[in-house]
């Protein structure tokens, strides 16, 4: 519930902080509607479209409506996939408007105490500290390995969780041990002649739960001729914070990352998670009002590249990769596609592998419903979107569904599980497939530190 006092404060802040030029830049042509997953899935409800949400934000600024529950609801319902941006001829930066609006509402809203405690724990006490993320992941590992997970599932004690969380828990990969997570490299040489010096952004989830994907990413980079620096002072990208209305916290994290990477003197900063990469790529916008930081942020942003983009730049598609025959399809990571504007590189890489029959999935550019923590907070819409997607995924006949972001990967695994395709279909990160192909093609030499 938002009290009328809170509403007043929100309204004042909307007037003060929302970018009016950007709001007016939307000329309401409606070209964004067909690209919006929530507009389509809600049965063409304008309230759940980008044009509708911008109109709502503008109406709050103009004082036409109060920021009531319905307003908050429509903003929460947005996946933040930003598919509306590439199709917007006027170039409205919807994502920025949404983030600002969510931040205003969050900061002026008094949550119930359990929500308050949880938000503080997750946003302020957990993610900013890589060590704590490792410990949390290790606890998950303990839970999985100790038999506790099996016990809870067998005894149905896990049914205290809502169904969608139970399903999600099942598809989590097995967590690595704390020891493994702590032993991370700081510097790796290129295999052969070094063509580039790159820095690697490890990411919270990627460097814990998906640690093997990170290892594989670095091996691919080495093989492509990259000397790699992995700054140990880097931290969470802040995307989770930024998308959930914790902008100040996100700014703090951004500054720490910029500092950490400035010291590496690298040509490029490589990410392998579209969600993180996109957020890093907009640090200049995040810090636009901070004169001490905006130029440093711009310099940082210019170096951000997704793993698939740099591999294509370095000619990895000509490596002569091969795999046993299989049908492969690719699900775009929304932020990789719509913000980092990287969509052909991963496809090119997959198509370059002999043995791979690449089949484009219908609506592969549409969000899978994972969207950060959306599938946890808005399970109904998220699962509707996912089930819809799985129909198209199955139509391709693919046995391998490739993604480029941890959230999407888990969501696709969940989709496979829900559709009962677990026996014949797998979901993998693009780096995993490429690494399999590298090994299959005999290109990988086990290096001393590898």
């Amino acid at each position: 519930m938002t009290s009328s006092k809170e509403q007043k404060a929100i309204q004042d802040q909307f007037r003060e902080r929302m970018n009016e030029d950007e709001l007016m830049n939307c000329m309401r042509c409606g070209f964004c509607l067909p690209s919006c997953p929530t507009y389509i899935e809600s049965g063409s409800q304008e309230l759940h479209s980008p044009r509708g949400r911008i109109a709502i934000m503008k109406a709050v600024v103009d004082g036409l409506i109060e920021p009531d529950e319905d307003v908050e609801r429509t903003l929460n319902m947005c996946l933040g996939c930003r598919a509306c941006e590439p199709v917007c001829p006027s170039g409205v930066r919807y994502g920025h408007l949404l983030e600002e609006a969510r931040d205003i509402i969050q900061q002026n809203k008094k949550h119930s105490w359990p929500v308050r405690v949880l938000r503080k724990l997750v946003f302020k006490e957990l993610f900013p500290y890589p060590n704590r993320v490792r410990v949390a992941t290790a606890s998950l590992g303990f839970y999985q390995r100790s038999g506790l997970q099996t016990f809870l599932q067998r005894t149905r004690l896990s049914h205290v969780l809502p169904a969608h969380l139970r399903e999600m828990e099942k598809v989590l990969p097995s967590a690595p041990t704390l020891k493994k997570m702590k032993k991370r490299p700081k510097h790796l040489p290129a295999q052969g002649e070094a063509k580039r010096r790159v820095a690697f952004f490890s990411g919270c989830l990627m460097d814990t739960l998906f640690i093997e994907t990170n290892d594989a990413t670095m091996k691919l980079l080495q093989l492509a001729g990259c000397e790699i620096v992995i700054p140990s002072l880097q931290t969470c990208c802040g995307a989770l914070h930024g998308h959930s209305g914790e902008k100040e916290q996100a700014k703090w994290l951004a500054k720490r990352n910029i500092e950490a990477f400035e010291q590496c003197q690298a040509d490029a900063v490589i990410t392998n998670a579209g969600g993180c990469g996109a957020f890093l790529m907009e640090y200049d916008h995040l810090l636009k009002d901070d004169p001490d930081w905006v130029d440093r942020a711009k310099a940082f942003v210019e170096k951000i590249r997704d793993i698939s983009a740099i591999l294509i730049e370095l000619g990895f598609q000509h490596k002569g990769l091969k795999l046993p025959p299989q049908i492969v399809t690719y699900q775009d990571s929304c932020h990789l596609r719509n913000v980092m504007r990287t969509s052909s590189a991963p496809r090119q890489l997959l198509q370059s592998i002999a043995g791979v029959e690449f089949r484009e999935m219908r609506e592969s550019d549409r969000c899978c419903g994972s969207a950060g923590i959306y599938n946890i907070v808005e399970p109904e819409m998220a699962m509707q979107i996912l089930d819809h997607k799985m129909v198209y995924a199955e139509q391709t006949g693919a046995t391998t569904i490739v993604t480029a972001n941890p959230g999407c990967l888990l969501q696709m695994k969940l989709g496979i599980e829900r559709k009962g395709l677990g026996e014949k279909v797998r979901a993998v990160h693009i780096v995993e497939v490429l690494f399999e192909a590298v090994k299959e093609s005999g290109l990988f030499e086990e290096s001393k530190d590898g």
Binding site: G30, G43, A55, A59, I65, P89
Partner: protein, 470 residues
């Protein structure tokens, strides 16, 4: 205000889930794609079938509640802005293609069908539905019929009107009528089909349509002609038509438009030329090739600096998509984008282009021009800022003069966008007092309580006529 009694009746008809009077739910139907128009309806309703529409209309008639039917709200004349309140009627449940009749070459559809979905569905059967408004990816057939939408293929194939064979419509008293049918010929009485097409929801609510389809042309070619002189481009248009060639598409874009479109689409459009013509021809392969060669010759004779043929279907498609984004891309330049669609006979297109530039200079406003040059249908567009009153006055004066000039050249105030609320003050300029009176008589006869999309087409007062001084 909708009384509690009326509200309960509405809910009985459509169900609670299809009746929304929440503030946010109403706000998002307070606008369409027309700048400077916004009005919040009192409720929004989504009927599931014709019977429900009819029952809603009966309640509206009894309680005198205005009804505004709305497709996807992409029109450019404030046709679906509920300026007198009342209810907005949505067709999201009435969105099925009922039949594609390959024997009679017709399609029967509900009003909520998305234009592009229909086009794709008929093309799968080797058939062709030509009307292709720029918003076709999201516009609905119901909206197209009500606005009599045109598009890029209007020159050769005509507009929506030319493809509507029959309609089912609910009148202001709740009666359901059916006009026309799957007929190539039908002269039984007045042509009510044509009366309803383009009536902007002011005479009835269209609940079903039977559309004409044509065979898919065998071949198609796309070409860009580049000019360093605006008028030379306009002259080429008139000359192509005068040479008895009717291209499928003959679009004009000036330099400022080219620049913003390229900024968005990034497909390598030339931005260092003053104007381009996007020309397409379709039909039998030999004919297309011959005519494209002739067109190329004409363009070069008229000082085109270069003529380029699209190398692939993808390239042609990218060019068309880029052209369709022109209006929205122009919105990049300034906060407000005001567009008109003054139309003149094709032979006058060069004069109109010159006049628009002179008028822009006279009123010190920026006007970018693009449009369906082959139809004589131009879209002079003014990037401006609605917050600047003084500038807005000059913009309005400039457009009034453009309308006056178009009429003087034998043209009209709107070629395809409709009158709506936006151009209502200018309607009399085109029709004369008597013409408007005939239309008002029809409106009164069919909608005595003025509940069907009130405030559209007819203005409370006509704008003072501008006299163009030469």
């Amino acid at each position: 205000m909708i009384s509690e009694a009326a509200k309960q009746l509405f809910i009985q008809i459509v169900g609670r889930e299809n009746y929304d009077d929440s503030k946010a739910g109403r706000l998002v139907y307070s606008y369409d794609a027309t700048p400077q128009f916004q009005a919040i309806p009192e409720a929004v309703m989504a009927p599931r079938n014709t019977k429900e529409v009819s029952e809603i209309v009966k309640v509206c008639a009894e309680y005198r509640i205005p009804i505004v039917p709305r497709g996807s709200g992409t029109n450019l004349c404030a046709g679906t802005c509920p300026i007198e309140g009342g209810i907005v009627l949505l067709f999201k449940h009435m969105n099925r293609i009922l039949e594609i009749d390959e024997d009679n070459l017709t399609a029967t559809v509900q009003p909520g069908v998305i234009t592009l979905d229909l086009i794709k569905s008929v093309e799968e059967k080797g058939l062709f539905y030509p009307p292709d408004p720029s918003s076709m990816k999201i516009s609905t057939i119901g909206g197209n019929i009500n606005e009599n939408s045109g598009g890029l293929r209007g020159l050769k194939y005509g507009v929506t009107r030319d493809y509507v064979l029959g309609l089912e419509a609910v009148l202001a008293n709740g009666d359901v009528i059916r006009t026309g049918g799957k007929l190539a010929k039908d002269v039984a009485g007045y042509d009510l089909t044509r009366l309803l097409v383009g009536s902007e929801g002011t005479l009835g609510i269209i609940t079903e349509a039977t559309l004409k389809l044509v065979p898919m042309p065998e071949a198609k070619k796309t070409m860009l002609a580049l000019y360093q002189d605006l008028e030379a481009a306009a002259r080429s248009v008139s000359k192509i038509i005068a040479s008895k060639i009717i291209p499928a598409t003959l679009e004009f874009l000036d330099q400022p438009t080219l620049r913003v479109v390229e900024d968005y689409a990034q497909i390598g459009l030339p931005t260092d030329v003053k104007a381009v013509l996007l020309i397409e021809q379709d039909g039998a392969r030999e004919v297309v090739e011959r005519e494209m060669r002739q067109i190329e010759r004409i363009c070069k004779e008229e000082q085109a600096v270069s003529v380029q043929l699209a190398r692939s279907d993808q390239e042609a498609d990218a060019l068309r998509t880029a052209r369709r984004s022109a209006l929205s891309a122009l919105a990049r330049l300034r906060p407000t984008t005001i567009l008109e669609d003054a139309t003149v006979p094709r032979s006058e297109i060069a004069k109109m282009v010159t006049a628009i530039n002179e008028i822009a200079e006279k009123y010190r406003v920026m006007i970018c021009t693009f449009g369906h040059a082959g139809d004589g249908n131009l879209h002079p567009t003014c990037p401006t800022d609605a917050r600047d009153d003084e500038e807005m006055e000059r913009v309005e004066a400039a457009f009034a003069e453009i309308f006056a000039k178009a009429i003087e050249l034998g043209g009209t105030i709107t070629g395809e966008h409709g009158v709506g609320a936006m151009k209502a003050p200018y309607l009399e300029w085109k029709l004369g007092k008597e013409g408007v009176e005939v239309m008002q008589a029809i409106k009164r006869a069919l909608d005595p309580y003025n509940i069907m999309n009130p405030g559209k087409v007819f203005a409370k007062s006509t704008r003072k006529r501008v006299v163009v001084t030469k």
